[in-house]
């Protein structure tokens, strides 16, 4: 399954919404973020820890607070079931992988650090 394809995003949505931990920590996760992989961009919208909407190829009128952007190669390393050092965690990539970028309102991203971190790690269970 190609990362960030419609099928992949649907699977990611199912993983997030079935996740027992997210049900514990997600109450305040109400925001939208973009995920950009090379030329492909989507926006995922959360409400109280549930991933309620996925917008592929969003137009100008789809808002989001922040997002993560990287090349397909960087995302592929992050999503690997056995990620190599520096690609095993989004905070690691923000510190050590210049091509992995947190864009938008970083304060909102860090306000949601715990649930966001969980959601990003669930991506790896979807595969690629």
């Amino acid at each position: 399954m190609t990362a960030f394809s419609d099928d992949w995003l649907k699977s990611f949505q199912e993983r997030v919404n079935a996740d027992a931990e997210m049900q514990v920590i997600g109450d305040w996760l109400t925001t939208a973020l973009s995920l950009t992989c090379g030329d492909r961009r989507c926006i995922v919208r959360f409400e109280r820890g549930k991933l309620v909407e996925v917008v592929s190829s969003p137009r100008i009128d789809v808002r989001c607070a922040f997002g993560f952007r990287a090349s397909p190669d960087i995302w592929s390393k992050f999503l690997s079931p056995h990620p190599e050092p520096l690609y095993h965690d989004f905070f690691a990539m923000l510190m050590r992988v210049p091509g992995f970028v947190l864009e938008g309102d970083t304060l909102i991203a860090m306000q949601h650090a715990r649930a966001l971190h969980r959601a990003m790690n669930l991506m790896r269970s979807v595969g690629q």
Binding site: F90, M110, H117
Partner: protein, 279 residues
Amino acid sequence: MAQTEPIVGRYINLEFSGRSYRVYFEEAGRGIPLLCLHTAGADSRQYRHLLNDASVTNTYRVVAFDMPYHGRSNPPDGWWLQKYLLKSDEYMGFIRAVWAALDLTRPVVLGCSMGGAIVLKLAAEYQEELRGIVGLESSAYAPGRFNQYLHHPAIHGGELAASYTYGLCAPMSPEPSARENWWYYSQSGPGVYAGDVHYYSLDWDGRADIKRINTSLCRVSLLTGAYDYSCTPDMTREVAKSIPGSRMVIMDDMGHFPMIENYPVFREFLLAELEWMAL
């Protein structure tokens, strides 16, 4: 059946730099003093496996203390009138004060992360009074960890510090152990993790000092996890290059918190170094 651990916790009251401190420490074992230094924003609970390991405590008197502001050690009187921003000299001086107050003779000092940095400074300044140092995740210069969000009124500091450091564990470390460290990290006081990182990433630069370490006086062991992205293996290799006679091991499948994230794997590396230190 209930089981009591051999660890004993106590408090010591001491003076440092004209101020009084009430310091919590735990200890176990008899023999060569092994003084253990916790990581930034954490406390001595990180050493619970080591303190419970008879293979260590049969030879070593293991002592782990909480730095002021951390764990069960209080901040000094008047703490509300100054920002907590740790600096190298103050950090080294306080460790020295605990070491003296507990009357530890020629100890081995073991520290991780910011503790792994300051042991290098201790070795440079007090090498004739030390048996050796064990630096876990040791770097002589480690910029890049500080940011203003670590102490910000619109962010839950405990959850951010814990999440920010969780990925410093290796992906293959047992989840309950990594989560345990997450829990410890979620509990530091407001701005304490940030204040420690101030030392680690902004104040600390031991690149010149470490060249003065004479390993014929003070043995040096350096152990770093391959998945550590705060102190990368290359950063520790730089340290090792500057200290002729030092020993260095890069631990595969290990991150930044070996003593708590995966003790069963870590102890094999550690025991070899402690055996060498005891010779």
